[in-house]
Symmetry: C2
Subunit: 166 residues, 2 copies
Amino acid sequence: MRDEPRSGCPINAGVEMLGDPWSLIVLRDVMFGDRRYFRELLTNSEEGIASNILASRLKSLVGAGLLTREDAGRGHKARYSLTEAGIQTLPVLVALGTWGRTHCKTSRALTVRQELLEQGGPQMVADLQDELRAHHLGVTTAERPGPSPTERLHAAYQTAIVGDPL
Amino acid sequence: MRDEPRSGCPINAGVEMLGDPWSLIVLRDVMFGDRRYFRELLTNSEEGIASNILASRLKSLVGAGLLTREDAGRGHKARYSLTEAGIQTLPVLVALGTWGRTHCKTSRALTVRQELLEQGGPQMVADLQDELRAHHLGVTTAERPGPSPTERLHAAYQTAIVGDPL
């Protein structure tokens, strides 16, 4: 990452920060998979991310202010959390997922959560962001009745993988 | 681009196709700048895209079905048009622009169109997509009263660059 952006265009700014083959995939796994440790992100990777690529992406995401790294000290594993800027990448992930679902080959099990997010519209995205704020930033919000967005996404995924493996 | 995607995840599919530092920038210029020829895309590039990178991205975007290339024959310049899949990347561009505007350094002149798109919400994005369909695919839709999304974006940009150069 250079110090000066290539231009003053906000789309370019987003592309410069997030437009590479792995950064958004790592954020997706922290966000939807609650994978908070290096080992989890590495071994549960559907895309088979390589260890050195994961390490470099985590470092650049922390440097860019999208993740924080909590170092628990000698012998303990570092834990990653989303920042507010990281949580605000969710609409980018949803938009990319909508495009991918429509125009590319995808698996049923890995698509049900995307469909649920699209059906839920901006309100579900906002509710999920609130839930991520509570979980990653310790920001408490008013309790809402019924299952949370994360619970709904998890339930849909669990149902889907019974009939259709990844 | 490999034949098989890295996984069946729709977000990954979107990232695999669009997650690089230049593809979405080229689509942005075709979409918002109506730059349809190689020379226009090269010389008007705010980000200073290199000739060989532009050539490779145009080739891969045509190969991936996001652009079509109309070859007008010997001595004539090839003209690029958006496909339906290309037009459907607009929500990804808007989401990236929203994130970039909020979290990165941007210029006033290059941000007013982004703000207008955000204020207009999903309806303005849909209207702009209809306008792009008419312009790039020849699909005619019902005339709407008042200035079109493109005219509104252009007017906002023209006003902004008077007081604040790029």
